[in-house]
Subunit: 215 residues, 2 copies
DNA sequence: GGGGATATCTTGACAGTGTCTAGATAAGCG
DNA sequence: CGCTTATCTAGACACTGTCAAGATATCCCC
């Protein structure tokens, strides 16, 4: 019985691009339920496929989550790039914009953010994931190098700036999605523009004023 | 058959202080397996009690985790206090010490830290938990007030300092237990004392130099 | 084009999970 | 002592992730 092949070829036994479909479904499930209530069978059901299907592509549930985290870094960097492209053309503005993109991503994809940065279910030895995470880190070091004029990999003081800025952006992002910053009531009443300026100021505190200092 | 009543009264049907025993067992299980692999039945087994026993004391698994998080804030604040008591007697040193205690706690109890700050399984409406979390926050605002001479609750610039310092300490703590800071290779080779000084410097960057500025 | 090898997906089974209910046991109190 | 209440056990249920066996489609070489 050849069912409506015209509408969708969904009736096909082979899915075509199930790997992508599963990742899409998993991302939705993740954002809806959070990591702690993530269900592989629910992902399969959402993708209209049997509960055993994901195993062939990802091995197990953690494999799927690892792939999802890896893909997440693409969006993560893209959001930072977008912020940077809108920023004025000086190193500090670019750095602040990058940090705002960091926070943007956390707010828009809180569960994915947690998966990427705080989950034990991802395989950190996975080369694809490690490469993606490293790219995000290198991006930050380049910003600091542009400001301080020296490669943080070779200079301890510049690396301190890297850790400071990273810590600030990450901390603000994590606390924001945990809804911990609501106590600072004035934040809720701020316009987006004011909020960005407020966060930018804080992010730039990570940069040491002792520019170019090194051993 | 009255079994050895002398050694432990464990043979008693009623446990005596099962609530505390369950919390202790849960804390061990949590640190061993992480939140994402936490099992209520494993907790019951560790406490040598039936799988249904926890329900009577905590309602459900999330109730147990909420109580555990609430108790965690006690240790959390205690660790900060210990650091502060060892610090020299000036407001900035106290603030930095408090931040180091923040990081200490995360390193010693990573899973509990994640439960307290990044889990969706705790009931944030729980009054006991909210009160504990608030106490930790107020502690920080007092440090900033001691430095800037104005209550952050009434001054936006002082509150910015609060969020900055909190973000830094939290970000460094979270990234540390995620083992993300290993790339900054020199950190591993540092003595505890040097590492503390390094983190202290970063934490204090959260304090704005424009002291006492206010609208 | 045909046909065997291979990739892909389904199905059923299994142990483990959290929660609910009913019942057993202990403790408290009149 | 006996009734009430608190506490804990035991069994059932639906759901979970993973595994093994089988069904089905696609690929590729003859």
């Amino acid at each position: 019985m050849p069912l409506d092949k015209t509408t969708k070829r969904k009736q096909s036994y082979h899915h075509g691009d199930l790997e992508r479909s599963l990742l899409d479904a998993a991302e939705i499930e993740l954002e809806e339920n959070g990591i702690e209530r993530f269900s592989l069978r629910a992902v399969a059901k959402r993708a209209s496929v049997s509960h055993g299907a994901p195993a062939h592509h990802f091995g197990n549930a953690d494999g799927l989550l690892t792939a999802l985290a890896s893909r997440g870094y693409g969006k993560f960097i893209a959001m930072q790039d977008k912020r940077e492209s809108l920023a004025s053309d000086n190193p500090k503005a670019k750095l602040a914009a990058s940090g705002l993109g960091y926070i943007d991503f956390a707010i828009e994809h809180p569960a994915l953010f947690r998966l990427m940065f705080a989950s034990e279910r991802t395989d950190k030895a996975n080369s694809s994931l490690a490469k993606a995470a490293n790219a995000a880190f290198e991006k930050l070091t380049e910003h600091i190098e542009a400001i301080q004029g020296i490669d943080p990999h070779t200079d301890q003081f510049a690396m301190a700036d890297v850790l400071a800025c990273w810590g600030i952006a990450h901390g603000l992002a994590d606390l924001t999605i945990s809804q911990r910053l609501g106590r600072a009531t004035f934040l809720a009443g701020m316009s987006d523009q004011d909020r960005d300026a407020f966060f930018s100021d804080i992010i730039l505190r990570g940069v040491s004023p002792h520019a170019g200092r090194h051993a």
